[in-house]
């Protein structure tokens, strides 16, 4: 589904990713762990299409397409979703408005009819209930004045509405209390199926008790230095990143 080959990325002339490789097959959950500054978030942003990141070498294919050739909105419509580490506040834009626009943009891309207000409302309420999100949140401005936990849950809510093929979760667990963490994990687990993949970027092994990955990768200084199964996460928890 996703193949990243020898990816080199610069920001402001500083090389952050230095030959990153990862292959994700349909239905797999990959976890990328690593110390601060290792380039985990850069990878997430590059996959989503952030322009400030300059790809100097390497390639990224997503479902057979050259991902780097696509605009951020095209990537989203093709099925990529990034749950932001720091979701952006957009005052004056109602959450429900953003979501309906986003969902309908995706439907239009696939030559489907836009959802009517009523249909969308029904869908949104269903998903919110499962995530324990207050309906009020739909009317509020995107992420504006949300608590940290609300922001992260809102990302998962968006993911559930948009039903991506590949979801990249960038430290969605950071700063969450255990209840919020369970809600986020449930939100992800309920969407796991044979056609959908996840890349879960995290700093802490804790999340992986709730979202059990198929593969764990350790990222240090812009590349993956070790890959293994879920047991690798436990090893990291005990020994830390010092050995890499």
């Amino acid at each position: 589904m996703l193949e990243v080959k020898n990816l080199h990325v610069q920001v402001d002339d500083k090389e952050i990713l230095k030959g990153m490789n990862i292959t994700v097959a349909p239905g797999e959950v990959h976890s990328i762990m690593g110390p601060n500054g290792s380039g985990k978030s850069t990878l997430a942003q590059v996959l989503a299409g952030k322009e400030a990141y300059e790809v100097t070498e390497g390639e990224v294919t997503f479902q057979g397409k050259d991902l780097l050739d696509l605009e951020p909105e095209e990537r989203a419509c093709e099925g990529i979703f990034l749950a932001f580490q720091y979701p952006v506040e957009i005052p004056g834009v109602a959450n429900t408005y953003l979501l309906r626009e986003a969902l309908n943009a995706k439907r239009e891309y696939r030559d489907e009819k836009p959802l009517k207000h009523v249909e969308f409302g029904k869908l949104a309420r269903e998903k919110m209930k499962a995530l324990g999100i207050d309906e009020d949140l739909l009317k509020r401005s995107v992420n504006t004045g949300f608590s940290g936990g609300e922001k992260k849950r809102n990302e998962i809510f968006q993911m559930q509405i948009l039903e991506p093929t590949l979801a990249v979760l960038d430290e969605t667990d950071s700063g969450l209390d255990i209840d919020a963490l369970k809600i986020v994990a449930n939100g992800v687990n309920s969407m796991r199926d044979s056609g959908r993949s996840f890349i879960v970027i995290t700093h802490y092994q804790r999340l992986l008790n709730y979202i059990v990955p198929d593969f764990v990768h350790v990222m240090v200084d812009g590349k993956i230095v070790r890959s293994g199964g879920k047991e690798l996460a436990h090893e990291l928890e005990e020994k830390g990143y010092a050995g890499f």
Partner: protein, 448 residues
């Protein structure tokens, strides 16, 4: 013979007798006296210059060099159909039309709202309700201190007169449409409006300025509002003048005890625009909400001058002005809050936010608090910025096109001021005008 002004102070002073003899020969004496007094104010003041503190960002050189004349051709060139096109879809309300500052009865509705409510042209009111008009006209807008108010008071021909007696709820808004036309030479137009809302009464007035052509003219509006005790007024000033016009306007509000006003200004047209909003919270417990949105492009210059005067205790005021500037346009926001001695427990707040769509657009924003009292709460804040790149990326990462993302962001920005309008049909019409304006900017490859 046309009455022509060559731009100099002397010409505006000297032509008054000609104006009084030709256009105003049947006017009551007190009006003639008032005009003469007012022009002596202008004789002393002249047009302001950049060295006047209150005008330091707005250069009037072009106005001083311009030649303007009083309109002569009546309402020719303005049809019922063209007037209808300026209406607000879905809004059912009486409309009064003025062409080049003169009342156009054939294009206007006759308002018979009952309950003693009067909605008519000011000139009619001067002859029919002389005493009532005399009690208020030119009592608030100070023609001795402001050159444009002096000129308007000297040369006004007409405008709307709205009177709502005590204890009366006037549900329907009044749509006051001022249309300017091209007479082949630049016109000098002085609309004058007077709105009186009695004790515990309610009114809504929409002043709407449009141009039938993209010609040069000098439009100089003065509106006086008297808001009686516990009265409630919602006032709109929608400025869609010609892109070549000089447009000056003053909204002067006198608020009595416990009264409440909401002022909405939307400025879109004009080459050089000055928008003065000056409420005086004269009685205790008043509330003033002042909202504004200005959008400019090309070389437009829009100067917003707020003077919110707290003269009594326990009054609240809120100023909320947003600007969107493109091209080489310039904006000014000058927000003055004046708290008099004795105006304890004043709560005054001011916010001005600006969105620059080009590298060459410019905004000067200047808060000014003048407080002669210890027991007050005054805050101000201003921001200037471009469209938030992080937010744009966030929207795009959800599948929304870059164009749609920009539109959503602009809607949010302009909505901050427009959303306070209580007349939905007016708000919706303005939202769509603003969107059209912005889409055009996007098509020109600007509007980052």
């Amino acid at each position: 013979m046309a009455i022509v002004f060559d731009g100099t102070r002397e010409s505006y002073v000297e032509r008054l007798s000609e104006f009084l003899d030709s256009e105003q020969k049947n006017a009551p004496e007190w009006i003639t006296t008032l005009r003469r007094e007012a022009i002596s104010g202008f004789a002393e003041l002249g047009f302001p210059t950049l060295s006047d503190e209150e005008w330091r960002f707005t250069n009037l050189e072009a106005l001083r060099r311009g030649s303007f004349s009083i309109a002569e051709n009546g309402i020719s060139g303005v049809s019922k159909k063209s007037v209808d096109s300026y209406g607000f879809p879905g809004l059912d309300c009486p409309r009064l039309v003025f062409v080049n500052g003169r009342f156009a009865p054939s294009l206007s509705d006759t308002v018979d709202a009952g309950k003693g409510i009067l909605v008519k042209s000011l000139s009619e009111a001067i002859s029919e309700q002389g005493d009532l008009v005399k009690d208020h006209l030119a009592r608030y807008a100070d023609y001795e201190k402001d050159a444009f108010i002096s000129l308007n008071t000297s040369y006004f021909e007409d405008g709307v007169f709205v009177y709502v007696p005590d204890g009366t709820v006037f549900e329907q808004p009044v749509h006051v449409l001022h249309v300017s036309t091209d007479e082949g030479r630049p016109l000098f137009i002085n609309p004058r409006n007077l709105i009186i809302v009695g004790q515990s009464s309610v009114a809504k007035v929409i002043e709407h300025y449009v141009s039938a052509s993209q010609s040069v003219y000098f439009s100089n509006v003065v509106t006086e509002v008297v808001c009686g005790e516990n009265a409630n007024l919602e006032h709109y000033r929608l400025e869609f003048e010609s892109q070549k016009a000089f447009n000056f306007s003053t909204l002067r509000v006198n608020q009595q005890k416990n009264s409440n006003i909401a002022s909405h200004s939307v400025l879109c047209g004009g080459a050089i625009v000055r928008n003065n909003v000056h409420p005086v919270l004269a009685g205790e417990g008043c509330n003033s909400d002042i909202y504004g949105l200005f959008i400019s492009e090309g070389r437009q210059h829009m100067d917003n001058f707020m003077r919110v005067e707290h003269a009594s205790p326990h009054c609240d005021s809120r100023q909320f002005y947003n600007g969107v500037l493109d091209g080489r346009s310039k904006g000014v926001f000058h927000g003055r809050i004046l708290v008099h001695e004795g105006a304890e427990k004043t709560d005054a707040k001011q916010t001005n936010r600006n969105l620059l769509l080009s590298d060459t657009a410019q905004i000067d924003t200047k808060p000014q608090l003048e407080i002669y009292n210890d027991d007050v709460k005054c805050t101000h804040g201003a921001t200037i910025g471009q469209m938030d790149e992080e937010a744009l990326f966030y929207l795009r990462s959800r599948g929304i096109s870059v164009r749609q993302a920009k539109i959503i962001m602009l809607q949010a920005f302009t909505g901050e001021t427009l959303e306070h309008m209580s007349i939905d049909s007016v708000r919706e019409a303005l939202e769509s005008v603003v969107m059209k304006w912005f889409e055009q900017r996007l098509e020109n490859g600007k509007g980052r």
